[in-house]
Amino acid sequence: MIRVIHYLNQFFGQIGGEEKAGIGPKITNSAVGPGMLIDRLLEGRGKVIATVICGDNYFTENGEEGAEEVFLLIPRQEFDIFIAGPAFNAGRYGLACGELCKRVTERLGLPAVTGMFPENPAVELYKKSVYIIGTTGNAAGMSKAIPRMVNLALKLLRGEPVGKPEQEGYIPQGIKKNVLSDKLASERAIEVLFKKLRGEPFETEIPFRGLDLVPPAPPIERLEEATIALVTEGGLVPKGNPDGLESARATRYARYLVKDLEMLGSDGFQSIHRGFDTTFINEDPNRLIPLDALRRMERDGAFKRLFPHFFVTTGVATTIDNAKKIGKKIATELVSAGVSGAIVTST
């Protein structure tokens, strides 16, 4: 007999709506609401032996104590799999489901599966540590979600290998598993190429990221009134790298004053970028950050003002996520400083 414990919030647990979101945890010894679908699916093989219900506010507002209090209701009885939700797009509910599944997995070592709409904020927090079946944004997708959740949980229970996200229906965890193929990479690459040429569907082995489109910002209307800022990913720092900027896999950026400089001198600056030969740049840092040229153009009135600092990070083996974070932070600084345009130089 497969024994399932199911977690629901106050709404799906049929207690009430938002007005009941503050209720504390309770446990019933049978399936409630969507849990009955689990019972139907497992007919003859198993059933929901207990349903834990808690208000979304109670769970998320009482920190560690609240979460633990709810969690402790679960191991009170022996069971085989834990199912939470699905939470669809409900953020607080998602947090509760994710957190409980995580605790069940880590502390009880038992299979735990939940379901959420991919844009549920809880997904980013829990997708790596919890199996989250992708669902619709609202409860219309209940009848599709529950069977997928149960099937995945049963696989985990039986110790069967879990397939790829597309096969099992869970949200990609960003995990790369090395598998041995009987075909060489070159053969697989040519096969994909032929599929593409023939217009046939093909599957990429590694999904390509970074393709989001950014609508162009409006151009500078009056350059002569503009403030221009210099940004580089070439790792140019004051000699000695006083702030210890990373030379690869950057997680941050720095800002250095060039207000009173006419050009960048080789005695004052160096590049710590580990992705290319920095000899020429170290000889003449203006080859990376054209301070001399811009300063002259500033004097000639081509534009109004060169921003007093340049921004620098190191763009080698930097993850797309970190590059985006760094970019967003630099962008915020530029916006608050009223910069009109930026020249970003790269190796």
Partner: protein
């Protein structure tokens, strides 16, 4: 990536790089070609005076790119489709 985030915040940004295929693939909106990976805004093979002139040209192009309306991706896709 940096220039995309700056553009996303509403400030025009131009990327000076030698890796044009990469810039195109990542859909940078404004790109000006650099001279070399080890010297994007310089050329050690030239005399210092010639190098300064080259740098001035590239820098001027970069500034100009900031003042021109950049092609959005839809326009680029239409262009690619016509080729």
């Amino acid at each position: 990536m940096l220039e995309k985030e700056i553009e996303r915040a509403g400030i025009p940004a131009v990327l000076v790089t030698t890796l044009l295929p990469t810039a195109r693939m990542l859909r940078a909106n404004r790109v000006v070609p650099g001279i070399g990976i080890t010297n994007p805004l310089g050329d050690p093979r030239l005399s210092p005076a010639e190098e300064k002139a080259v740098r001035k040209n590239i820098t001027a192009s970069a500034l100009e790119a900031l003042t021109r309306k950049a092609q959005g991706d839809d326009e680029r896709a239409a262009q690619d489709a016509r080729r």
